[in-house]
């Protein structure tokens, strides 16, 4: 028997601090599970209804992700029409002439919460501004606008600031504040559904589909890989050929096919994802097992008196390949999230009345043109965080169970 | 007679997890012209580092700490001469010139040291081109074939045309030696060439090497962990243990005095095993293989921990072993040994 060093081919590498990755992975996983249960319990009233296209009400996010429309006018009085009524003429000013408001105002507020805004005026020397038009209860104290909206002010409220500069010209900056009953931390989509509720509801597609895909890929793939490597007979070449052929078809096409054939049933699609992942699991387990079969380890185990079954499944797979199987399983979960999001985005997965992160991304795509970024950024963050969570979980567990790294 | 290579008080060390582990301590060695010198040392004795220092292939930090190496009569390494940066540069340049041209080396596993995806012929041509030799392809192949024939190889033509994985153990060894001798070096270093061979194959491999070296006036530096290789095939033997040269003796008079060499001799001749066989539980001085002192303490004499001689001495003499470092200079006739009590 030729002596071969026992370098086991493993997936991923110990790039990160051992306990750090595991802790991060576990926290993200538990958040996902919590969201799943939470959205399962609340069901319908999870998603609050509000005005459509509302930017996130958390001020930090709003500043980052939304530039409100502030229209500026130059006010001239028309002598001719002095008796006839409105003698003022508003001519539109665009941003390049002068910028009346340097900072961007908050444009949403919940009932009962104090709305305060300290405008930074763009004009050089000006006397202090006055509120030409404002909802009741809004007042100005030494340059700061404060206001507490009440329930019958729900909806859009216009605010107009009147300014005049040193040589007497009058300007007006007009923007609107949307008042809502509920608090929408991440804003709402076109149909007024709260984005945070949608994301929580969409999280149900992160754990369950992964279970289906992972179990198929790991159990069947692992079994085929281990058996074909251990017995190394005609079966081995046939199974490897099948794995090679399945791998030669781009994964997405298989998923499209199954999606269309099963009328977009995500659970069947996850079976397809399992089939797509099966060859890579099979190859990795097969090459690991081959390394053991080729040196004396198997023969010395059978000399001791272990049956073939025990040698393969306990001595080789359970003791040595457990860490690979775990990290492959977590990769399957991450891959199933990725596929679910992609096909739902393309309209072949989760259909509209139902909610998933892919659908949110698709909606977000169209609102991108209106520079409403929150509809894209938050679902994207949620997707990336959950995938990263599974990958860190895999890396952490792998280091924990890998005998080589002890 | 002029010396080929002389190493004087060479110190080499490596950083390993934090502290610097010194691997060679004041190693000195002389390889005279056209002579066969043997180094015997077990794993971790630093024999490979000694060889690599001659070729300038010691990698890692800090590598060579101090010492002198003289080739023929000019210094290729002299750490006392000038600043660290300068002597490192000179050392690098000079060894670069020597490698392959003047000094060549054969490592342990011949088959693994051949380029797997090139036929032997192609490797010979590549080696020759690397040494920017001026012979044409045909001359090189002719040169290679004659070398192989000298090593009584049945069908050199087939060997030249085939890949390493088509050759048997013996054939790949001869091909590997041929590549080493292609640049007609003046010093051949053989680093444990026989470690995976049984006694008979080892002997005829060493005979081949000996014959080639004497025919072509090449001095040989043979490194092995098996005393029998060195005893029968070299003129002068250096015994290395844990980075120290413990003894330097010539196998002709076969009377090494240092306890470590005596222990190795007894293992080779089998006396120790006979005694163990007679009474495995006895713990007289020879068969008592227990450790002296405790495991992780450093003593002056590197061999003190395993030395069976010191167990038979009085505690006062043992103190000498523990505290004063024996040096190689105390010698009787031409048999130098670094031990206080073995005279």
């Amino acid at each position: 028997m030729k002596k071969r060093n026992l370098k086991v081919k493993t997936v991923g590498r110990s790039l990160f601090h051992k306990t750090g990755t595991l802790a991060l992975g576990v926290t993200i996983l538990s958040i996902l599970i919590y969201l799943n249960i939470f959205s399962h319990l609340n069901g319908e009233n999870l998603i609050k209804q509000g005005p459509g296209g509302l930017p996130p009400q958390i001020s930090l996010f709003q500043d980052l992700l939304y530039t409100p429309q502030v229209s500026q006018y130059l006010i001239e009085t028309d002598e001719w029409a002095s008796g006839w009524g409105d003698s003022e003429i508003r001519s539109q000013l665009d941003r390049d002439d002068i910028l009346l408001l340097k900072n961007t105002p908050l444009i949403t507020q919940q009932i009962g919460k104090t709305y305060s805004f300290r405008p930074e005026i763009g004009l050089q020397d000006y006397n202090e501004f006055t509120l030409n038009e404002a909802p009741e209860g809004m007042s100005v104290q030494d340059g700061e606008i404060t206001w507490i909206p009440d329930e019958n002010q729900v909806g859009e409220n216009n605010i107009a600031l009147r300014l005049s500069d040193s040589d007497g010209l009058e300007y007006e900056a007009v923007y609107s504040v949307i008042v809502t009953e509920e608090f929408f931390p991440l804003g709402t989509n076109r149909r007024g559904q709260s984005l945070s509720g949608l994301i929580v509801a969409g999280s149900k597609w992160t754990i369950v589909p992964g279970l289906i895909a992972a179990s198929i890929a790991i159990f069947i793939g692992g079994f085929m890989g281990a058996v074909s490597a251990y017995h190394k007979d005609q079966l081995d070449s046939v199974l490897s050929y099948i794995a090679d052929t399945t791998e030669s078809v781009p994964a997405l096409i298989i998923v499209f096919l199954i999606a269309a054939a099963t009328q977009f049933n995500v659970y069947y699609i996850m079976i397809g994802v399992g089939i797509v992942l099966l060859p890579s699991v099979q190859n990795i387990i097969r090459s690991n097992t081959l390394q053991f079969v080729e040196n004396q380890f198997v023969e010395s185990s059978s000399e001791i008196g272990f049956k073939d079954r025990i040698i393969l499944w306990r001595e080789i797979i359970w003791y040595n390949c457990k860490s690979d199987l775990i990290s492959l399983a977590t990769y399957c979960f991450a891959f199933s999230i990725l596929i679910e999001v992609t096909i739902s985005y393309l309209g072949l997965g989760v259909q509209i009345p139902d909610i998933s992160w892919g659908v949110l991304l698709a909606e977000g795509r169209s609102s991108l043109l209106r520079e409403e970024y929150w509809m894209t950024v938050f679902p994207a963050l949620a997707i990336t965080a959950s995938i990263l969570g599974f990958i860190f979980l895999g890396a952490g567990l792998k280091q924990k169970f890998d005998p080589k790294l002890k | 007679m002029s010396t080929k290579i002389e190493i004087k008080d060479l110190n080499v060390g490596f950083h390993s997890d934090g502290q610097t582990k010194q691997v060679l301590h004041q190693v000195s060695l002389i390889v005279p012209e056209n002579k066969k010198i043997g180094i015997i040392g077990e794993s971790g004795s630093g024999k490979t580092q000694t060889v690599l220092s001659i070729l300038g292939l010691i990698s890692g930090e800090p590598g060579v700490i101090s010492g002198k190496i003289k080739y023929r009569d000019n210094f290729i390494l002299d750490t006392s001469a000038n600043s660290k940066k300068q002597w490192k540069r000179i050392y690098g340049e000079k060894t670069q010139l020597l490698r392959g041209h003047e000094i060549s080396i054969i490592f342990q596993d011949a088959k693994a040291s051949l380029i797997p995806y090139r036929t032997i012929e192609e490797q010979a041509i590549e080696t020759w081109k690397d040494l920017n030799g001026n012979q044409s392809r045909l001359e090189i192949i002719e040169n290679a074939r004659s070398l192989l024939e000298e090593m009584n190889l049945s069908d050199p033509e087939r060997v030249l045309r085939s890949y390493p994985n088509q050759l048997s153990g013996g054939e790949s060894q001869r091909a590997y030696i041929m590549l080493a001798l292609l640049g007609s070096p003046s010093l051949l270093i053989a680093d444990e060439p026989t470690s995976s061979l049984d006694r008979e194959n080892a002997d005829n491999l060493l005979n081949i090497i000996k014959k080639l070296c004497s025919d072509k006036k090449i001095s040989l530096l043979l490194i092995s962990h098996d005393l029998r290789d060195v005893i029968e095939h070299t003129d002068q033997i250096y015994v290395l243990f844990d980075g120290h040269v413990l003894e330097q003796f010539s196998p002709k008079n076969r009377t090494p005095t240092h306890p470590y060499t005596k222990f190795l001799m007894s293992m080779v001749d089998g006396e120790l095993i006979k005694e163990l066989k007679a009474d495995p539980d006895s713990d007289n001085s020879v068969t008592n293989l227990v450790q002296n002192g405790n495991m992780n303490e450093k003593y002056a004499c590197p061999y003190y921990k395993f030395c069976s001689l010191s167990r038979t001495l009085s505690t006062k003499e043992q103190q000498k072993c523990k505290n004063e470092k024996p040096s190689l200079e105390m010698f009787s006739d031409n048999n130098k040994s670094a031990c206080w009590h073995d005279k």
Binding site: G305 | D198, P280
Partner: protein
Amino acid sequence: MLKVTDLKKAFKNKDGTKVEILKKLNIEIKKGEILGIIGESGCGKTTFLRTVLRLEEADSGSVLYNGVDLMKISKNEIRNKIRRNLRYVYQHPEASLNPGVTVGKSLLNTCKLFHTNELEKKVADSLELVGLPFEYKSSFPHELSGGEKRRAVLARALITEPQMIFADEPFSGLDKILQARLIQSFLRIQKQRELTYILVSHDQSIINNISDRIFRLQNGILQQIKS
């Protein structure tokens, strides 16, 4: 104790020609002796050991162990009754220890096959017998040095209280000091447990001095050199 008569084994190499590795081997091994077999590498000494222990099927011949012909009985019978008495220590012990599990666990699993009570004690005894400190129970094979790995494999072979140990190149590739200590342990254990050793090696300096009887295996037959 073990009588081998007319053992034959031949290999078919690639171009179909039959190579006779073992031609009519006859040997009788008495209880408590150390039997040494010398042979060049590739002369078939490993095949001889494997065919006697039926790790490889011989072409013909019989192996009588306490009256039972190992060639005739079924594989299961061998696994349950014979294997525990005839143990085989491999040439490269690093490759026969399960790298994914601690030394103690390997010993435990082996012990569980044949015994049911005092498993922990048996593991501790066998470790102590081969001279490995008890703490090595929880260390992994890749944490052990070359010599220590060989002792762990020996401990695994001894745990089932065998009567005969077949060892293939047990001492090769070790530093002389470790080699001496391993030989000493081998001899002490043999005295303590009245074991019979069949040692196979190409290194005459050890075999000549350690074995009671020596055979040379050359072109398929065994000749006695020293009795």
